[in-house]
Symmetry: C2
Subunit: 211 residues, 2 copies
DNA sequence: AAGTGTGAACAAGTTCACAGCC
DNA sequence: GGCTGTGAACTTGTTCACACTT
């Protein structure tokens, strides 16, 4: 555990956790790295190595106690508590995001929504009244807000991101196709479906060219 | 070009292309790998190496002609033509996806939408009438459909994916939190915002624990 | 016997550094 | 002089293989 942990390992832990959670629901109590690997299509060694960065959670000759490993992963990832998020930009996407039940189910509470349009401010989504973006800086001071979800249109992405960061938010989920600049200590994840499509077409093209 | 090209390189090309497109709009005609690197926060060597897998596009002592490199990238990625996609599952997310203007702008035409609910079938999104999922297999035979976008609820993800693959679709964008199985030759990309949040909380937790 | 945990071997990916060219 | 293209060096990440534990 004194070791530097690769970021790719951190990114895989939520995947392991998701699978373990499903396995728990199925009522299984013990599982080996081999079986986990088959489900996820990764090598058992990968899973064991990844987990070894954090401790020794398995039972030799047996495997992992599903419940125990799940607890360990949730502890490591900080999923043994709830986190708060705000959604900024309540267009079609923002509305879909703000009302997605998966966030609450997984421990992420959307506590406020913001927009600039008077047509949208005051309307309700998922039990939350949409506020003016002008309220954001003050809300960031007075409420505890962990994560900013940015679903504004591209041109405001950087501005909104800066507002969040100035208000002390250190985790940003950017649904905008813009690449935003953040200080090194801020966690940023980008969701840009077009980039996925554009890497898939590389392979599609090859297929088409063959025939 | 006879070399095997790493998948990570393919994944970066759309990012380069996006930046070049922006730079074109700004009216710049020539740019160096160094300048591109600053914009994207990657090393110039990375960019030059990535491009070198596909050819020699730069001018020594000068840099890259923006227009030329953009054309090359679009050719490599197959973005010099339009592609067709269908959206399956017209809930809040499916509606947001189907009406997202970014797809059309970037050359991806949503040509049909499908759902199972009689309340949704027959309604219009973005000029397209939502059809019954029962129409999908036949449509896949008669129309040319390149990409399947899956926005159904989790439990139907695999079933819908199988329908698409049986109909000959070889590129799937899965917005579902379920991990679906596909044959090796099918391109699959998953969009699961919760996994992003869960890796960010690892870092948030560390921050909280320090103070 | 079965399956973990892990150093060592290997593979993949990134950066360096410089020859070559404009 | 400046910047590309690219082998070579290096770094990072993955897999192997086996000692060890139950």
């Amino acid at each position: 555990m004194p070791l530097e942990i690769p970021e790719v390992v951190i990114d895989r832990l939520p995947i392991y956790r998701g699978l373990l959670s499903r396995i728990m629901d199925q009522g299984r109590t013990v599982i080996s790295s081999h079986e986990l690997g088959i489900e996820l299509d990764v090598t058992p060694a990968q899973i064991r190595k990844d987990l070894s960065y954090f401790g020794r959670f398995g039972k030799q000759g047996k495997g992992y106690i599903v419940q125990d490993l799940l607890d360990e992963l949730e502890n490591i990832l900080g999923l043994d508590r709830r986190w708060t998020a705000v959604v900024i930009g309540i267009g079609r996407l923002g509305r879909a995001v703000a009302s997605y039940p998966g966030f609450e189910e997984e421990g992420f509470d959307i506590v406020a929504c913001y927009d600039t349009s008077p047509d949208v401010i005051g309307t309700e989504i998922n039990g939350i009244i949409v506020q003016s973006i002008d309220d954001l800086p003050n809300d960031l001071k007075t409420k505890s807000i962990n994560i900013g979800i940015v679903t504004v249109s591209s041109e405001y992405a950087q501005k909104v991101t800066d507002l969040l960061i100035n208000g002390g938010v250190t985790a940003i989920l950017n649904y905008t196709p813009s690449r935003v600049q953040v200080p090194r200590e801020v966690e940023l994840r980008n969701i840009n479906p077009v980039l996925f499509l554009q890497s898939m077409t590389y392979h599609l093209k090859k297929l088409f060219d063959e025939n």
